[in-house]
């Protein structure tokens, strides 16, 4: 193996790599524990209030970890909410801390402007449609593209970073009674406690869809090379 020159540019900065994997760990922990918490009441409502005496807009028809929920199943799952809730909130803190650090870095280092904001030449419907078409044709990225995000990638990352994650944090906080007391208008603005819970669930689905597409794209573009770039920062420079 050739010695790695310190001057060789990194595909991803150390900050991007570290925050990417911290967020990955936290997100997976949040996903598993969140699913576990949902099992104790797999029904969703709009507005402020909702319970088994209220008609849900969405009933997942899953077995529950509580015998008070009419699921139609003849058994009750073991209660895992204690540790799930502890881990959920600890992971939420990790997500928020990592996210704040990443946001400040992205803002001041030019990462957002350079890497996430679509280039001026890409900011047209034509370019976006062209990118969608080449994605649909499963065209493998050219070597140059391994050094930059394409326009669809940029838009979906922007959506995840600036819309979905902030929404997740907002709707999550809105379910906290302490937060509700301190910032009641943040809950009212969302449409109430149960609406916040429903939105928290819906945004989770969007984030899981993103995760699936994200991983599928990594596999399509070359799993080993993309993983190496996100772990070590090394990638084949565009000039080679």
């Amino acid at each position: 193996m050739a010695p790695v020159s310190a001057t060789r540019p990194k595909r991803h900065s150390a900050t991007v790599r570290i925050t990417h994997w911290l967020t990955t760990i936290a997100f997976l922990a949040l996903l598993v524990t969140g699913g576990e918490i949902v099992l104790s009441h797999p029904r969703f409502y709009w507005g402020e209030t909702g319970n088994v005496n209220v008609h849900p807009w969405l009933n997942l028809h899953l077995p529950s970890s509580r015998d008070t929920v009419p699921t139609g199943y003849g058994y009750v799952l073991p209660d895992q909410n204690g540790w799930s809730r502890y881990l959920h909130f600890q992971s939420a803190w990790l997500t928020v801390a990592t996210g704040l650090f990443y946001a400040l870095f992205g803002l001041f280092s030019g990462h957002f402007r350079r890497n996430l904001l679509p280039a001026p030449s890409d900011r047209s419907i034509k370019q976006i449609v062209g990118s969608i078409v080449s994605h649909l044709r499963f065209k493998r990225p050219t070597p140059e593209e391994a050094w930059s995000y394409n326009v669809l990638q940029r838009l979906s990352y922007l959506l995840v970073v600036f819309v979905l994650f902030p929404l997740m944090i907002w709707t999550g906080l809105a379910m906290s009674f302490g937060f509700d007391s301190a910032f009641p208008s943040a809950v009212r603005l969302l449409g109430g406690h149960q609406t916040a819970r429903s939105l928290h669930f819906l945004v989770t689905i969007l984030l899981v869809l993103f995760l699936l597409v994200h991983v599928a794209m990594i596999i399509l573009a070359g799993f080993r090379a993309r993983m190496r770039a996100m772990i070590t920062g090394r990638a084949v420079p565009p000039t080679e």
Binding site: Y86, S176, V187
Partner: protein, 252 residues
Amino acid sequence: MSKISRRKLITTGVAAVAGASGLGVAAKVAKAHGLIPPDSGGLYGVGETFTYAAQRLLARHAMAREFPRSEISQNPFANEVDPLGDEFKRLQAAGFADWRLTVDGMAARPTNFSLAEIKNFPMSSQVTMIGCEEGWTYIAEWKGVPLSYILDRVGTLSQVRYVVYRSIQPDWWESIDMADALHPQTLVATGMNGADLPVPFGGPMRLRVPRQLGYKSVKYITHLTLTDNLKSFGKGTGGANSDGGYAWYAGI
């Protein structure tokens, strides 16, 4: 490695030492200001401490949202409880005339109150939401005596940091810190939606802590203990729920 300059190494070292000692100082300050929850040990203690400290620092006096009467839930859900024992049934048969709330521990005048005495204290009412950690909620009008009034009556000693409250049901108890114990919305509730508190909802007497999840609003309370330390209660984490693996602070 040669690219890492001496200056960078020294800066990083100084930052690491400053960070570590900063954390140490922060932990000391937090402890002195009562920002460390009793279940701060263990795997999830860090997240739990952050949550508790953040809410106590930023929202100590915040008031739970109150709703117009029109938003009172038509079909509130009475969460299931363990079967009520013989003692409860005996008291219930007598219309709870002999129900007593004992207050002991670090009080200048430990005593006990009958249900009738409690109901003669100045009452407060609130239309607030109760929410279970499972995710469901309902809104009701709660009527009761502010816990702070009872604490005043018995003369709370200055070193008291927690109020431990026990249900008539065996091994069912919880505790709150003084921020919640003295909070104007924390009630010893005896009424709900304009009537006596129904038994399925905790009647004749339950604690209402509207800034925390439902499991802190213990039903059928008979006993308050004022203390400066939770170590000697149960496993030492401050409640039956936290002894059973749930968070002691349920403001989230």
